[in-house]
Amino acid sequence: MQDFSAAFGLAFSLIIGADADLIEIIALSLRVSISAVLLSGLIGFPLGALIAVTRFPGRQVAAVLLNALMGLPPVVVGLLVYMAISRAGPLGWMNLLYSPAAMIIAQTILVTPIIAALTRQVVEDMHKEYDEQFRSLCIAPHRVIAALIWDSRYSLLTVTLAGFGRAIAEVGAVIIVGGNIDHLTRVMTTAIALETSKGDLALALALGIILLILALSVNAAVYGLRSSARRLAYA
């Protein structure tokens, strides 16, 4: 018990003192996960919207597949990316293994299906509402998709948040392709795992607390944005 309270005390002093190692780890975590979420949005929004509005054979299958991919186990993604980018792999020549870029790739693969699948649901509902009006106005398909994405922007913010939550919290993929190398690829989750196993609870706790605060404040910000959107009947 004494250990625990000592650990808590140390954790807070690390946070309040803005410990350099701590800051470095947090900054890398944010950089990797935000990059991955941005890339996933770039792919996932248009992909989800496209599946929502186009009628093609196998569309149901695509939707089910996308939903299934939302639950991809991070370690499996990590393993597959590892095989692709390790020296013997097809992308070995790019020298990506154990780099932040590798972690971004792995998290992008993890998050894109989440964003695409949730986007499909959101956009499909709105498409039902707008479809006849758009057909009446003879709106070109690419404008239909852009308009649907823009008009569901507040719902898609929540979708993005779900993706970010997944990225920032996962360990399995980043530890395999990043290697948890100090000052290079160490992020919050891998550091927590390592420090806990070493028995250094203070740093692990400090990171855990930051991770929680981060999740809470991002959620609060999105909640605030969404309720102001609802007041404007934009959501």
Binding site: E132, R135, S136, L137, A140, A147, L232
Partner: protein, 238 residues
Amino acid sequence: MPASLLLPLEVDDLCYRIGPDLLLDKVSVAIENTGISVIMGPNGAGKSLFLRLIHGLLEPSAGEIRWAGRSLGPDTRRRQALVFQKPVLMRRSVAANIDFVLKPQGGRYRQRRDEVLHEAGLYRLRNQAARLLSGGEQQRLALARALATNPDVLLLDEPCASIDSAATLRIENLLRQTRERGVKIILVTHDTGQARRLADDMLFMHNGRLLEHGPAAEFFAAPSSEQARAFLDGKIVI
């Protein structure tokens, strides 16, 4: 009054069925190129289906539809605008709803947008969220957006069904101005008063069939079908 280039509208033996139900039964009509044609009839008569069919949003089960001799397609639809009974407004400001249809036309769309909003009496509300407007204002915005596309033909599905009489009056005035500009208007309503105020010619539908078509004065003076007579007398028509 200038004449619309897309007219006349010729409909031959138009049928529409869903499963076993014959919802439109051999509707044939020719609609001329000026003025306001009003389609009246009780609920479920097939008025909305007819409007969607002639606009090209639904495929006929049988029969033919021609605008100025041409069959339906994106070309004809692009020159028409349909205002739906329940306005579909985008989750944007009033001005952005107009911009959405003006942008593809290119050029200085802001000026045109402001004109359109002034005309509809919505300029003062231009920065408001479209979906927070009152029912009458929403209908006016939907109408303004339709007019912004510069249609040759304006189709309206009960635009005043759920708004009060002052708001109705404003819409009717807008429609009269539009008629003076030479836009052909086909208006669905089940409000006899509105039909009397606006119609140049009258169509009366009942049970998926077109029972009457003729000049408004004649129709109101002496409707030839029993159903239309009962409808005008305010009786419940089934």
